[in-house]
């Protein structure tokens, strides 16, 4: 376990909202929060985003951490801001969570400082993941189990792991929080459900936060498919596989796999068209090169669908995209994600952070 001192980012400067009287707060409170977070009700997913660049993430993040992050399929949740979470207290949290799991599991009272719990939780900071200045460092949680009969030098088995992250989180939202809150809105877990719910309830009771399931909707899946396809020249995506659920009786699932080179060619066509159009409107958009627009994504998907229609006379628009996968990763609408290549991890997590922030109740 790596424990080191990390400064929790202080997002207080912009957020020092004045302490006006309570009655006023409650009367104009929501309005002021609405003002700060640019009209909560109107929040939508970004309509354009930067194309994923091959991040030299291996330089910044330790290989052990990366190995944990890219190996597994994660079940995603959103988390409301954590109250008084300190990156400096991870050792204590490890102890408390271990005791909590033991207490929940065995239904007995447990001393927190007892060194030998049957489950050993460990918290660690994943350095180098945070992108923006406001992002809090990613936290990795692992639970190892220890068998009573195992020998001392037996390696402990990791039975559960999870992480909390905020990659390129909306700075306005983060700044609008009082300073004793840490925003780590994206939670991924992998392991048995009982342990997941134990960890969640420990977080709920310790940092007064709430966990809700985060599904990856149709639009986000389309985004992921396009973003991954965009990486084809640098790193072979091997295939672009999409699963569509068509609402007929009995329910029909269509798996649609596209050759990587074909997908890339279609994508470049769509990109070119869009770029030409853009240039027609505005001449000097040099740095816009790496920006992908939602219209390009829609067009790409539309072309894929019409290609399918030409062959099978079946309009996929009637269905829903439920899964997208390439060699870089896979994502399911149920909120399960697997990132297979760490080089493009950041852009995926950025999109997912955005989805999680959209779910914030306040």
């Amino acid at each position: 376990m790596i424990i080191s001192v990390v400064k929790t980012p202080r997002n207080s400067d912009g957020a020092q909202r004045s302490s006006y009287r309570q009655s006023y707060r409650s009367y104009v409170g929501a309005v002021s929060r609405l003002g700060l977070t640019s009209a909560l009700t109107a929040r939508r997913l970004n309509t354009s985003r930067r194309a994923p660049r091959a991040h030299n993430i291996t330089d910044k993040v330790s290989p052990e951490h990366l190995a944990v992050l890219v190996k597994k399929e994660w079940q995603l949740s959103y988390v409301t801001p954590l109250f008084q979470f300190r990156h400096t207290q991870l050792k204590r949290y490890s102890q408390q969570l271990s005791a909590f799991i033991a207490a929940e599991r065995q239904g007995v009272a447990v001393e927190v400082e007892e060194p030998q719990h049957s489950f050993k939780a460990s918290f660690s900071v994943v350095h180098g993941m945070a992108e923006a200045e406001e992002d809090a460092e990613t936290i990795l949680i692992q639970v190892h189990s220890k068998h009573h009969f195992s020998r001392r030098d037996d390696p402990e088995k990791c039975v559960w792991s999870g992480w909390l992250a905020c990659i390129n989180g909306s700075p306005e939202y983060i700044r609008s929080l009082p300073k004793d809150f840490i925003c780590l809105p994206l939670f991924g877990s992998s392991g048995g459900d009982p342990l997941t719910s134990s960890v969640k309830s420990w977080f709920q009771q310790t940092f007064d936060c709430c966990f809700g399931s985060l599904e990856i909707n149709h639009t986000s899946l389309q985004w992921l498919g396009s973003l991954w396809t965009n990486c084809q020249p640098e790193s072979n995506i091997q295939h672009l596989k999409m699963i569509w659920a068509v609402p007929v009786v009995p329910p029909l699932q269509i798996t649609y796999t596209v050759n990587p080179q074909d997908a890339w060619e279609l994508w470049t066509c769509v990109r070119k068209d869009a770029q030409v159009e853009k240039e027609g409107e505005e001449e000097e958009e040099e740095e816009e090169e790496g920006i992908i627009d939602i219209e390009e994504v829609n067009m790409f998907m539309q072309e894929l669908k019409s290609h399918f229609y030409r062959h099978f006379k079946l309009d996929l628009s009637a269905g829903n995209l439920v899964q997208v996968s390439t060699a870089l990763g896979s994502a399911k609408t149920s909120g399960r994600i697997k990132i297979s290549n760490s080089r493009y991890m950041i852009s995926t997590l950025t999109l997912l952070t955005e989805c999680a922030l959209l779910k914030m109740p306040v």
Binding site: Y27, A30, V31, T41, A109, E215, P361
Partner: protein, 739 residues
């Protein structure tokens, strides 16, 4: 000693000898002393006093068998105990006698069983007895009996400080297997934060590993967790009531009987102590609607180390309002702020929470629960299971009602939810929440509220329309009440001090109110058309305008907004007299408000200005009403309703200009007929126009007024110079001082 004496009460004739000395020491004059002597003489012969003397003086080792004296005295004590209860001194003596085993263990149980206190139990006696527990060779069953007795009379022990001082000594008995459950209960009652220590936690955990998770251990440990969550953790399964099973104690009924006889009410709450009963043990499907349990915060260490000298009280430990008041300044916020919504006591506390972070935590949880239940509902069947949702919203509504304040998360939720709502799911509750929405700035109100509401309004049933009208009326009332409170406080300067980021100025507030009133005007106009001027809807609309017309005088808001013609005319021509009467009342209140506003405007230079347009509208409406109801000039030039002469002739209505005066108005026709019959009982042919003559007209009006049409009365009296005595009926003088 003196304190104890007064507790035992002067009326108590059995005051025993040791305490007499202090009493005599206080006596000041001779006569008192004589009385004292007399009393002592009486006491000396009292068998009870003698019995006590026997028990306090009896030599150790006195044989029990065949000891008639012992038997006699014991019976005497028992008799007093079961009838009146034992006074503190007697308790001390008897307890000391029993626990010291001066005559062996056989009378011990009998004595313990009759230890029924009449008022209080002296702490010293209990402490001494506990000490004997450690020294003497008391049989284990008797030890259990003693601890049970302590638990029963716990609330009657006059002080607990010394008992707490020997907490460690009492704790040492937990290892005694048979005593353990009762010792745990006693410790539970005595535990303070400072008594929770690592080694005690370890001892209890060690015990747990031996005897398993016994309820009494778990409960003591859970209390330890309340005080020191950083030391111990456990999860208590919810159906764990009756942690301490001591309810069938042998003294309970006798104690109750004695207390009843003495008329004193010392409730023994320690006995009825059970685990906080979680009413819903059944598995909840939607756990997000469950208010979190009240727990003390684990994570405080980090930031409160510096001020740990200040003693804080976990909110879990607060059980009554009195305790709340006493500890208000040092109550520690719970681990999960959402838990404050769990009980009315914690709600009281919530009212005092000023901490912005704490409120944000609460709002996060509340918003999360609402979003998950009503917006994100992942499982399709969640709306079917709306019983819990209903209860949750009801609880929320009563909380809002109690607090008289909203939560920003509810507001944010509603703005989103209104776009997805079908207008029928949990309608009363959602409308109830909506009426609590605080002032919305006029720039946002349209997008957030009006657009979704308009769609819902035009596509929903009559009942939804009525409900929405009521809701908007309540919302306006709340805004106005808020304004009137803070306008008074701030001397009409609503603009907050300069340090606020968002402030709402008086003019901003006026804009919002105006937007709302205009919005309701639009809804009402179209709604009445859609529903064929339904009188139920009209009634809710008139409710709203009853609020609007009095905004200046009742709530001090310098704003007068007239109803649109789409509301005014349907009310004026309504077929039911109540609507017409209410319209008349509303117009009367408008007049009073406008007159008073005008007066103020003249008085103060900087006073607000009410636009000429408003006066114009008002005057126009008044002229229409008077012409229509009074002057029978329904379709004259300049009236709101104009029809061509030929159209009116074509209608074949005779005397069409009369058709909406107070006699022929469809709402009042039945009254006119009734009046006609009463006035001229003999007449065969009915000529309603004959009421128009000055005298009958006057009578007719008075007749209408006696039917309870006060609005009409006030309207007529304030707008028409009408002298009932002069009999100059049909006067058409309009009061037109407003212009």
């Amino acid at each position: 000693m003196a304190a104890k004496l007064s507790l035992s009460g002067p009326s108590d004739s059995d005051t025993s000898s040791p305490s007499d000395q202090s009493v005599s020491g206080r006596s000041v004059n001779r006569s008192l002393r004589i009385a004292e002597k007399e009393r002592r003489k009486n006491e000396a012969e009292d068998p009870f006093v003698l019995a006590l003397k026997y028990f306090s003086d009896v030599e150790p080792g006195t044989p029990v068998n065949g000891n008639d004296q012992l038997e006699r005295n014991l019976v005497c004590v028992e008799k007093v105990a079961y009838s009146k209860g034992l006074h503190p001194e007697a308790i001390s003596i008897m307890l000391e006698f029993a626990m010291s085993l001066r005559m062996g263990s056989s009378p011990c149980v009998r004595v313990l069983k009759c230890l029924i206190p009449s008022s209080v139990v002296p702490q010293e006696a209990v402490v001494r007895a506990v000490v004997w527990l450690g020294i003497g060779k008391i049989p284990i069953s008797t030890q259990v009996l003693f601890i049970k007795w302590v638990l029963t009379v716990f609330d009657m022990i006059d002080a607990k400080d010394q008992l707490r001082a020997i907490y460690g000594f009492i704790f040492s008995f937990v290892t005694e297997e048979n005593l353990c459950p009762f010792i745990c209960h006693l410790l539970y009652l005595l535990t303070r934060k400072e008594s929770v220590r690592v080694f005690r936690v370890r001892k209890l955990l060690e015990l747990q590993s031996k005897v398993g998770r016994q309820p009494f251990l778990m409960h003591l440990l859970s209390l330890y967790k309340v005080f020191c969550p950083e030391l111990v953790t456990l999860s208590i399964p919810s159906p764990m009531k009756n942690a301490f099973r001591n309810h069938n104690s042998p003294w309970k009924s006798a104690l109750l009987a004695v207390q009843k006889r003495n008329g004193s009410q010392v409730s023994s709450s320690s006995l009825s102590l059970t685990a906080k009963d979680k009413t819903n043990s059944r598995k909840r499907k939607h756990c997000h609607l469950e208010v979190p349990a009240l727990n003390s915060a684990v994570n405080k260490q980090a930031q409160t180390d510096s001020c740990s000298s200040r003693k804080v009280v976990p909110l879990v430990q607060i059980h009554s309002f009195a305790q709340l008041l006493e500890n208000m300044h040092r109550i520690e916020l719970p681990a999960q702020m959402g838990s404050l919504l769990g009980s009315s006591l914690t709600l009281q506390f919530l009212d005092c929470v000023q901490d912005e972070s704490a409120l944000l935590r609460l709002n996060s949880w509340l918003g999360y629960a609402l979003h998950e239940e009503f917006l994100f509902c992942n499982d399709a069947g969640s709306f079917q299971n709306s019983e819990e949702a209903l209860q949750f919203l009801e609880k929320l509504l009563s909380t809002l009602h109690f607090r008289q304040e909203g939560f920003s998360s509810i507001e944010v939720f509603l703005y989103k939810f209104l776009n997805a709502w079908d207008g029928s799911l949990l309608r009363p509750q959602i409308l109830g929440l909506m009426s609590n929405i605080p002032v919305v700035t006029s720039s946002q109100i349209g997008q957030f509220l009006f657009e979704p509401l308009m769609q819902l309004f035009f596509t929903s049933s009559l009942f939804f329309k009525c409900g929405l009208m009521e809701c908007l009326n309540n919302m306006l009332l709340k805004w106005l009440t808020w304004h009137s409170v803070y306008a008074l406080e701030d001397d009409l300067d609503i603009s907050l001090n300069s340090h606020t980021s968002i402030n709402i100025t008086l003019s901003g507030f006026k804009d919002s109110v105006m937007e709302l009133v205009h919005f309701v005007g639009r809804l009402a106009t179209v709604g009445l058309q859609l529903e064929g001027c339904h009188s139920l809807l009209l009634s809710f609309i008139l409710d709203f305008y009853e609020t609007v017309c009095d905004m200046f005088l009742k709530y001090g808001l310098p704003l007068v907004v007239m109803p649109p013609p789409g509301v005014f005319y349907p009310a004026l021509f309504a077929a039911d007299p109540v609507s017409v009467d209410r319209l008349a009342y509303i117009m009367y209140r408008y007049k009073v408000n406008l007159t008073s506003a005008k007066r103020q405007e003249k008085l103060k230079e900087q006073a607000f200005h009410i636009s000429r347009q408003t006066f114009h509208e008002f005057n126009h409406y008044v002229v229409v009403m008077v012409n229509c109801l009074w002057n029978s000039k329904m379709f004259h030039q300049g009236m709101g309703v104009q029809l061509g002469e030929e159209v009116l002739l074509k209608s074949n209505v005779p005397q069409y200009s009369n058709s909406f005066d107070l006699i022929h108005h469809p709402a009042f026709l039945s009254y006119a007929v009734d009046f006609h019959q009463k006035c001229w009982p003999g007449r065969k042919d009915m000529d309603l126009n004959s009421i128009k003559h000055s005298k009958p007209w006057r009578w007719y009006l008075e007749y209408l007024f006696t039917q309870g049409y006060d609005g009409l009365k006030q309207f007529v009296q304030s707008n028409i110079s009408w002298q009932p005595i002069a009999g100059d009926g049909g006067s058409d003088d309009l009061a037109t001082q407003q212009r």
